[in-house]
Subunit: 339 residues, 2 copies
């Protein structure tokens, strides 16, 4: 099975992280450090922020839960983009909040003006924006994000999900590590290849980190993951290679799609949306790929439900995918579905 | 440093679990199974219950959060034993519940009659009982637990924390794997030596498991931990040896304490309370041990705050502890503190 559906890293964890985790395993009988102190120190130095402005948790999903629990009381409004990362919505529903959504632009961009306007109109308690976005792959520039933050209602907390930010040049991201009323979430699941380890962190102002400290699971992070993450941060060359290879892979997917009569949406993440023109065609293409043991996903909400989402694989996986995609595309056109 | 304060297993993870985790590490880039399906199947067979009556989470701390979030609304009452496992209280406070506590009997037993009476009187939404209990180590028999469950208000959910149940003969535990309105929590952190992995599970009726399914972190459990736990369940001989060695260690601690002029409280867990007669003496003994690089803990609430809690170590650690404890005890008597 070609596993290209979950935006996992095809390049695995950094070798140094793997070695550190292997060495740590015999001490699995010990609890990890509830403060993740060593990791936070290194992260603070890397981001140029204070130790007290970093909180480590069991992945971004965990951090999203803390954001919602801490900053969206039952009945309060959370604003997001329709069809963006669903775990945010899951937590809002679970904690009794009310979701209001703004649709993507047709080309996959998040409509920042509309999102901010919806937040102001609804007096939103919390706003979610993934940048780069999942599942669209679209990216808003530093300037656009700064203008967006300024346009939000002052009382709202912005969850700026930067799960895929490692695939973007640092200069394109916010200059300040920590912005008041903004929680920037980061993860070791994507460029660092450690999705199964469940470890991520947030950059946030001290008051937010303190609030999370009162509600988070104190021993919620796997000890081996803490040690692996610390080692992974030293593997800058490996991660830079992953980022470069992912960029090549995105270009290959775009060329492949064009050769087969499709287009792609611009992506800055480790996946690409291939535009199938209609939802039924996209659904059928997912099936045709699955019949060929290729696992990809399809966004569920319009306008992106006309696309399939393909994670960038290794060079070998991409070569295999190219063959099978061409086959599936030919079968799609041989047996067109009603639109 | 002799690390005998956190009730971690001195005997490490089972060798088969260690090997399985080592082999799994290169796939850290993949997410784990959100359903923990394979693990739940094996657990269901082992406990003689249905797959749908098991939920896997990131340790018992995580499960306690789900219990409180799911079954104790803000303002509702949670009943527990004063000084028992504090993470339950942490979650109750975090979700806006109200804690009511019953004290331990002087000898460390949980006063089940008083606990049930308090639950009835307060119309408790949720009741917490650890059995074997932490930090006392005391244990209530199967008959006593059955009578206790029957005496609770019918609407209350009982969290029966069985973190240390692996140290007890199976015949002494509840016969039925699943009891309505009871959540039995289990962990791989103690006898299975995997505290750092953050993985545990609950045995509960289907409706409770369904409720947890609506609020739990779907990808909250580390993939390597899932694979390690599955392998650990096959290591019955290793775990039986750990349990036997822990029983020997408890007896050694008791003999040691008597030789030095102390007594111990009966324990069925992997730790022993050594009775220092007064709180100041216990506090001083913790300090004297720390000066000798021995880490132990002390219960914070009366009546057990007169004791120190020592985790059972390996034979080598126990021998070293015996020397240092004798030294510390002599220093304690040489420099008596005010009572």
């Amino acid at each position: 099975m070609l596993r290209l559906g979950a935006n996992e890293s095809a390049f695995g964890p950094p070798p140094g992280a793997l070695a550190a985790m292997r060495e740590a395993l015999p001490r699995t009988s010990w609890y990890g450090d509830p403060e993740s102190a060593e990791l936070r120190e290194v992260l603070a130095a890397a981001h140029g922020c204070a130790y007290e402005e970093i909180v480590v948790a069991a992945g971004i999903d965990d951090l999203l839960g803390l954001c919602v629990r801490g900053y969206c009381a039952p009945g309060e409004v959370a604003v997001t983009t329709l069809g963006s990362y669903p775990t945010f919505n899951y937590h809002v529903a679970g904690y009794g909040g009310v979701i209001e959504s703004v649709t993507y632009a047709d080309g996959g961009a998040v409509r920042l003006d509309a999102l901010a306007a919806a937040a102001r109109e609804a007096h939103a308690a919390i706003v979610y924006l993934a940048n780069p976005d999942n599942p669209s792959g679209s990216f808003a520039s530093r300037d656009a994000i700064e203008a967006f933050v300024a346009a939000l209602p002052p009382a709202a907390l912005l969850v700026l999900d930067e799960a895929y930010a490692d695939f973007v040049e640092r200069d394109d991201l916010l200059a300040a590590a920590v912005v008041p009323r903004v929680v920037r979430t980061r993860t070791f699941s994507k460029a660092y290849g450690m999705a199964g380890a469940r470890i991520g962190y947030a950059l946030a102002s001290r008051d937010v980190v303190e609030t999370f400290g009162k509600i988070r699971l104190q021993y919620g992070v796997n000890r081996t993951a803490q040690i692996g993450a610390l080692a992974a941060l030293r593997e800058t060359d490996f991660v830079a290679d992953v980022v470069a290879e992912v960029a090549r892979g995105r270009e290959e997917y775009d060329s492949l799609a064009r050769r087969c009569g499709f287009t792609t949406l611009p992506s800055r993440a480790n996946f690409v949306l291939i535009d199938c023109a209609t939802r039924p065609r996209a659904e059928r293409l997912v099936e045709l790929l699955l019949e060929r043991a290729v696992f990809v996903r399809k966004p569920g909400a319009p306008p992106l439900d006309r696309c399939i989402r393909v994670t960038v694989g290794t060079a070998g996986e991409r070569a295999r995918f190219a063959e099978l995609f061409a086959e599936a595309a030919a079968a799609l056109d041989a047996n067109p579905q009603p639109a």
